[in-house]
């Protein structure tokens, strides 16, 4: 009897108990001790920047036709030629139809760059060769021969938001030729059509100062206006011929033509491996979509982090880059974000940078834009950690790629660290937890 009572008694207080995990609110902190950790911010690591140009960029497979161009003191003159192939599934036109007129309709896609209050001009030419790529894609340097005589010329003030589309009248004789072939049923399939009509190119003029984008989808068509005599008089109809929907190959692309003659950046046109350094270009580096011009960044002295005594770890590393003053404005806007990739020593992209499974990208911090203190902040710690841990020296570098790099003509001019009025630098935050 006694025994059981004792057993129960003992078991009772053998088990330790405690109030469930609460942190006592009694704040004793600084009076008892300092932190065991030191955190340092270092902004004196070297940032080596340069500019190079990709040999080519794929410009088919996107959804935009670019028209226009501009001139820049460092980037020279740039303009586009937009190539497209038309087609359809069927070409039924009633035998009673009578052609009234033909036009090319281009649907705005709201993209623009630079001053759209200025006139943009371009000409429309017929292609002499098939729109067939050598491999699977077309590039910004691809070309297809076209007829020197233009079908039409158009100058316009772009209205990418106010208007749906741009209307370019085409010669009636040209339209009649195709219209008759449809009516006579000499053209019944896409193959028939492409034999007769290989496509169009929209060639931007040489004096433009704006770039406009048009959709390559169903809002861009060659439109035949015709009428048929009906009971109540002539009824108007339209027949739309879109960009060929019936093909596995690409059916449109943008060519980018750039002239850098006698400018400091000219050498980059020679080869992808050629770089121009900021001291030759007013302490600047460049990124230009469409042409393939891109900024390259290295951190040659980052391993000096090991010289700091004690055991520590990298907490963050932000590459801060200021866009050059006077190179951007409300019409020449800066991109909000730049994604980061890694190139090898031949300037070829060989890996992406991921953080949490997502691509690393830097954002434009516009908190202080009233004071003209916009700055790009690019988190590069995962890249630096790889560099700090590499077993042997790898000669790689980072490049910054804006969105729509293959399908726009935007430019971003950045200050190199040596620029006097710039504030480009690498800001490293390093924590030492075992000061020794």
């Amino acid at each position: 009897m006694y025994r059981f009572f004792l057993l129960g008694f003992l078991t009772g207080f053998m088990i330790s108990c405690d109030t469930p995990d609460e942190i006592p609110v009694l704040v004793v902190g600084e009076d008892f001790s300092d932190s065991n950790v030191r955190i340092l911010v270092i902004d004196t690591f070297q940032v080596e920047m340069s500019t190079f140009r990709f040999d080519s960029l794929v410009t088919s497979g996107e959804n935009r036709l670019l028209i226009g161009g501009y001139t820049d003191p460092f980037l020279g003159r740039i303009k586009t030629e937009s190539y497209l192939e038309l087609g359809d599934f069927s070409f039924d036109i009633s035998t009673d139809a009578e052609l009234d007129s033909v036009a090319l309709i281009l649907g705005y896609d709201t993209h623009y760059f630079k001053d759209t209050t200025q006139v943009v001009d371009f000409s429309v030419h017929r292609l002499l060769d098939d729109l067939r790529p050598e491999d699977e894609s077309f590039y910004n340097i691809s070309e297809i021969s076209y007829s020197e005589r233009s079908l039409a010329r158009r100058s316009f003030i772009p209205e990418p938001f106010e208007e749906d589309s741009l209307h370019i009248s085409l010669p009636k004789a040209f339209g009649q030729e195709l219209f008759d072939l449809f009516q006579d049923e000499n053209i019944q399939t896409t193959e028939d059509f492409l034999l007769k009509f290989k496509g169009l190119v929209l060639r931007s003029g040489d004096t433009n100062d704006a770039v406009v984008g048009f959709r390559s989808g169903s809002s861009t068509v060659m439109r035949f206006y015709y009428f048929i005599d009906g009971e109540f008089g002539k009824e108007e109809f339209t027949y739309d011929l879109p960009i060929n929907p019936n093909s596995l190959d690409p059916t449109h692309f943008n060519r980018v033509i750039q002239d850098l003659s006698n400018l400091p950046l000219e050498p980059i046109l020679l080869d992808q491996e050629v770089e121009v350094f900021p001291e030759d270009v007013d302490h600047k580096v460049f990124i230009q979509s469409g042409s393939g011009i891109i900024t390259k960044i290295k951190f040659p002295t980052i391993k000096q982090l090991y010289n700091i005594p004690g055991e520590g770890t990298l907490l963050s590393a932000i590459l801060q880059i200021t866009p050059s003053a006077g190179t951007f404005s409300s019409t020449e806007t800066l991109r909000d974000s730049l994604s980061v990739s890694v190139v090898d020593r031949n300037n070829r992209v060989y890996r992406d940078l991921l953080i949490n499974g997502q691509f690393v990208s830097g954002a434009l911090n516009t908190e202080n834009s009233e004071f003209n203190e916009e700055v790009y902040e690019i988190p590069v710690a995962p890249y630096l950690l790889d560099k700090l841990e590499e077993d042997f020296e790898v000669d790689d570098a980072l490049i910054l790629i804006p969105t729509d790099y293959n399908t726009s003509l935007d430019k971003i001019v950045l200050d190199a660290p040596s620029a006097e009025n710039g504030d480009t630098k690498l800001i490293v935050t390093y924590a030492i937890y075992d000061p020794q």
């Binding site: 704040v27 004793v28 932190s35 924590a431």
Partner: protein, 417 residues
């Protein structure tokens, strides 16, 4: 042969599982446990809880007393004692602005002792010796090379344990000499969480300390009514090894392990030289008075921790016992022992110039449960620690302790087959 043999196995199983389970939670919330190896527990084995830890000159004949290794030499011949104890504690912490309560419980000690023959006795006692449980909140530190500050919180948990092996020889009728071999072991774990803007850093350190510590004690009866006790604990250096894990978030990513290391050598922790002297006097047949003085030479260890310095510590104690009526025919309440104790501890910590001292009162009863001296001891202790100043906090701790001391007779030569 009552309890012991039949229930030994069951009891042993229970207390082993108790030891394993009981060390999982923070048993204190005292910020003072930040310093050194935590806040020390006072001895609760045998009758000790009721005496407020006074016991250098107490040679116990029917129970264990780990305060003086010579005490086991006074255990009655052929006696075997098994002692198990636990306690419940209510802690109230107070500073300038807030009051916090914390309730906890644990086992306090387990011990076995015996005195075969006339000449010598030995005991083994296992005790959780210190407890660590603190939170240092909201430390701000300047980031070097910037105007920013980073914030940290530091959490501590763990504690040290001791296994004491005491052996004592009855040199003469009045003199008992003892040697204590103590093994100290345990972990003090500390985690610091750092936040700076969007970056996080966590450093988890588990510091393991262990080593032996040796001590001596003597008990000397004189003039029939007096007993003098003396103890000496030698200084020892506890070897420290650390396991460390560093976790951080890189830029804005999810946290990952930056570094992981085991068995990193860290600075040893030095337990100081300690000596004590005590005097007991028998006033009447049943009433006894005890005085204790103990001094720990912390300053000689040249240690500091955070903003605390270690200073020499003096403990003064006084205890009184009104013992059991040993007459077989006495009624139950007459066979209960009553105890009272009071101690003043000048403290071993000096934090930013202010001394952390404490005092304690205790009351206890011992309820006999067998002829041989098996007893259930219940003690109540009130401890007051520190004071509310700009820097310090005040702690009031109420401890209710229970222990059972089971006595059996072994080693008797049997007179019959």
């Amino acid at each position: 042969m009552p309890f012991m043999t039949r229930n030994k196995a069951t009891i042993l199983i229970i207390f082993w599982s108790g030891i394993v389970y009981s060390q999982t939670n923070n048993l204190t919330g005292s910020p003072y446990s930040f310093f050194g190896l935590g806040v020390p527990n006072f001895s609760k084995i045998g009758n000790n809880a009721g005496y407020s830890g006074v016991g250098i000159s107490r040679g116990e004949d029917t129970t264990l007393n780990d305060l003086n290794p010579a005490s086991i030499g006074r255990l009655n011949t052929n006696y075997v004692v098994l002692d198990l104890g636990g306690f419940l504690e209510l802690e109230t912490l107070r500073d300038n602005a807030n009051t916090e309560n914390r309730f906890s419980g644990n086992f306090s000690s387990v011990g076995v002792g015996f005195h075969p023959g006339k000449k010598w006795g030995a005991s083994i006692v296992i005790t959780p010796a210190t407890n660590v449980g603190y939170t240092l909140f909201g430390l701000t530190t300047q980031v070097e090379g910037s105007n920013e500050e980073f914030y940290s919180n530091i959490f501590g948990s763990g504690g040290m344990n001791t296994i004491d092996f005491d052996i004592a020889f009855q040199a003469t009728e009045s003199l008992s000499l003892g040697v204590k071999s103590r093994y100290l072991f345990g972990n003090v774990d500390e985690t610091e969480n750092v936040v700076l803007n969007n970056s996080f850093l966590t450093i988890e350190e588990s510091n393991n300390y262990r080593n032996f510590q040796f001590g001596f004690g003597l008990l000397y009866k004189f003039l029939e009514r007096f007993e003098l006790g003396a103890t000496l604990q030698l200084e020892t250096s506890l070897d420290g090894l650390q396991d460390r894990t560093v976790i951080r978030s890189l830029d804005f990513s999810t946290p990952s392990i930056a570094d992981q290391d085991t068995d990193i050598p860290i600075a040893d922790f030095i337990m100081p030289l300690e000596y004590g002297i005590g005097l007991s006097t028998t006033i009447t047949d049943r009433a006894q008075l005890h005085f204790d003085f103990k001094r720990s030479l912390w300053e000689d260890t040249n240690q500091a921790d955070g903003f605390g310095n270690y200073i020499d510590r003096n403990v003064y104690g006084l205890a009184f016992e009104y013992g059991a009526n040993l007459n077989q025919f006495a009624n139950f309440w007459d066979r209960v022992s009553y105890r009272f104790g009071a101690t003043y501890d000048s403290g071993y910590l000096d934090i930013l110039g202010t001394n952390v001292s404490s005092y304690r009162f205790s009351l206890g009863v011992g309820i006999p449960i067998s002829r041989f001296g098996s007893m259930i001891n219940i003690g109540y202790n009130y401890t007051h620690n520190g004071e509310v100043t700009n820097v310090l906090i005040e702690e009031q701790i109420h401890t209710l302790s229970f222990n059972i001391s089971l006595v059996d007779i072994w080693f008797r030569k049997s007179y019959y087959d």
